[in-house]
């Protein structure tokens, strides 16, 4: 389409999260794939309705935690056994039970850092500019409005038929989102 190159997509505004869920399911049934929804709070089932898969965040957290745990234990072992051995009351240098608290803390620390930075980076934040901010009434997407945006990059996108399809879902408004 010609329009595809000059606009980001078409955004429909809804008043409740239930309307948005219905609309997202309908759009997916209609064959639309490249779309996103914008809500003031996390809506249960919405990622599924949009056809999103499970997120990779838990996997990243698991890997981060394992690196923290093994790295922490290795550091303690290396420091107290190899690099700087100290005889404390004749106890074995590799006294592993006493290494556990720090291993535990570093597991949590690295897992938490991975959860935070993993989710932020995968969300590509910080991102001060995004075309969707041009949608009509979008300032209310963080207050009390629910938006569904079918993007111009979608294979089925057509500025006329897609608008007609969105109108059939009875949104409050429909607006064209410029790039």
């Amino acid at each position: 389409m010609n329009t595809a190159s000059v606009i980001h997509g078409l955004a429909a505004e809804f008043a409740t999260h239930r309307d948005l869920l219905t609309a997202a399911r309908a759009a997916r049934d209609q064959g639309y794939r490249q779309m996103d929804a914008y809500t003031p709070f996390p809506v249960e089932g919405l990622p599924l309705a949009l056809g999103r898969k499970r997120t990779l965040v838990p996997l990243i957290v698991l890997i981060g935690g394992m690196i923290g745990g093994t790295g922490g234990y290795f550091m303690e072992w290396y420091a107290n056994v190899i690099s700087y051995p100290l005889n404390i009351g004749g106890r074995p240098l590799h006294s592993w039970p006493l290494f556990i608290p720090i291993t535990f803390e570093l597991t949590i620390l690295c897992a938490a850092l991975s959860a935070f930075f993993g989710s932020i980076i995968m969300n590509r934040l910080p991102q001060p500019y995004h075309p969707i901010f041009h949608a009509a009434h979008f300032e209310r997407a963080s207050i009390d409005r629910f938006f569904l945006c079918i993007e111009a990059g979608d294979a089925q996108f057509d500025s006329v038929t897609t608008r007609r399809f969105l109108e059939g879902l009875h949104p409050l408004t429909i607006s064209e989102v410029p790039l």
Binding site: T55, L98, S119, P126, D144
Partner: protein
């Protein structure tokens, strides 16, 4: 007041105060109630008094720290045998206060306790500020605070490493991890609300300022999915973390052989005490604040009642800890343990012990009565009593155990100096100053989570 009581007591089969959210709230109304506070041109008059008082004591803290840097720890009352004076008492007290924040935000989240929504942001901020106050004390107590980084592991030119078998080194890891994780958890939950404040702000500079910290949040479903996943995982990580932090703090004592410290009950008893004093501090702040900012519709009597219940339970665990300590000192048959207990109750610091028993064990028993749990004034006073009681508990543990241990020739007395009191009062000032700044500039209740309660009204009734 009686109106409020009638309304939130109305719908309960078991006689508990019912609602989490006053009726008739909408997305717009909760957003407006919460977000208008940081956006207001002027805070309420009482805010200036609160902040000003906190700031004045914060100045006292800076003064006390400066004098400490010039003269050294000799300005405090510490000496041999009591080398761990107020610094460690205050450290343990503050870090304990922080624990309620994590308990509310993480453990109650995992347990699907919807009532945490109104108070979690607030108590997470409290955690951060309390841990910041706590962290100061071990650093100042080092004597040479400017080389504090020697306790961190890094390959240095001196060729030495920290001694990882020492609970004091565990403490460094536990407390710094705790602070970091609390900060990440707090900020991750704050981002969507900062976006709300950004979108509600009128002046451009305000829009930009909140916009920067909102990171460009746009509420995309994909973003929510990852944010929620990370948030839940952080809650799952913070839960064992919070239990470990005060356990590690208790190891500082229980791994030593000093009578009164060397006890296996310490970790659970410290954790319960931490949550106990933390909830008391949350109540001491929330009760005036909900009045000041007119948040009674969001922080209802149901919340206060639930917090009082948690205090009651943890308070009984703490009382059990006192009982077992006394019992074990007799049952052990160890002459030093027996003497420690006798000295604790009837020695020169006996009055502190009995004051502790009154404030921490006797007074809180009134929480069995629902009338007290839903009476703002009484609940405030009981919480205040618990806060002081928990401070006294740490005083009893640290000072009475140290001042008379094995050898009578090494006994001594401890008395705090002006500088000890100034540092304690100063951190309290710093804590309240930060808390007031937080209330002024950030949304103090999670707006997006409150919206979920609006969207699913049945959750708010439960």
């Amino acid at each position: 007041m009686s109106d409020e009581r009638d309304q939130s007591l109305a719908v309960t089969p078991l006689g508990y105060p019912g609602r989490l959210l006053a009726p008739g709230e909408t997305y717009e109304s909760v957003s407006e109630t919460i977000a208008s506070i940081p956006l207001a041109k002027h805070p309420p008059r009482a805010w200036y008094w609160g902040f000003g008082l906190g700031f004045a004591f914060f100045m006292l803290l800076l003064f006390a720290i400066t004098w400490l840097f010039i003269k050294g720890v000799g300005i405090w009352g510490i000496n041999i045998p009591v080398a761990w004076g107020f610094a460690i008492v205050n450290f343990v007290w503050w870090i304990g206060i922080g624990h309620a924040g994590t308990f509310i935000s993480a453990i109650l989240l995992l347990l699907f306790q919807q009532w945490r929504t109104a108070i979690n942001r607030f108590s997470e901020a409290m955690t951060l500020f309390a841990v910041a106050c706590a962290g100061l004390f071990p650093l100042l107590h080092l004597g040479r605070p400017w080389v504090f980084w020697w306790i961190l592991p890094y390959p240095d030119t001196m060729g030495v490493w920290p001694q990882f078998r020492s609970p004091l080194v565990w403490d460094v890891f536990a407390v710094s991890t705790y602070f970091t994780v609390s900060l990440l958890f707090w900020y991750l939950g704050l981002v969507p609300d900062l976006a709300t404040v950004r979108d509600k702000a009128q002046p451009l500079w305000q829009k930009k300022l909140y916009g920067i910290f909102a990171l460009g949040w746009r509420g995309s479903a994909a973003h929510w999915q990852r944010q929620q996943s990370a948030y839940l995982l952080l809650a799952g990580l913070a839960t064992p973390l919070v239990l470990s932090v005060h356990s590690v703090v208790s190891f500082d004592f229980s791994v030593a052989i000093v009578p009164g410290w060397h006890s296996t009950i310490f970790p659970p008893y410290f954790v319960a005490g931490a949550i106990y004093s933390g909830f008391a501090m949350v109540l001491n702040i929330v009760i005036p604040v909900r009045k000041l900012y007119k948040l009674e519709r969001l922080i209802t009597l149901r919340h206060l009642n639930n917090m009082a219940n948690v205090m009651l339970v943890t308070g009984e665990i703490v009382a059990y800890g006192y009982l077992i300590e006394a019992f074990m000192s007799w049952y052990s048959g160890d002459v030093f343990e027996e003497f420690m207990m006798k000295n604790r109750a009837f020695g020169p610091y006996g009055w502190v012990f009995w004051l502790l028993m009154i404030m921490n064990v006797v007074v809180p028993q009134v929480l069995w009565l629902r009338r007290v749990r839903t009476n703002l004034v009484l609940l405030f006073l009981v919480s205040f009593s618990i806060n002081i009681g928990m401070w006294l508990e740490r005083f009893v543990i640290v000072i009475t155990s140290l001042h008379r241990d094995f050898t009578p020739s090494a006994w001594g007395m401890y008395s705090p100096t002006f500088w000890d009191w100034a540092t304690l009062a100063g951190t309290i000032g710093m804590f309240f100053m930060l808390q007031f700044l937080f209330m002024r500039f950030l949304p103090m209740i999670s707006i997006s989570e409150t919206r979920e309660l609006v969207a699913e009204p049945e959750k708010a009734e439960a």
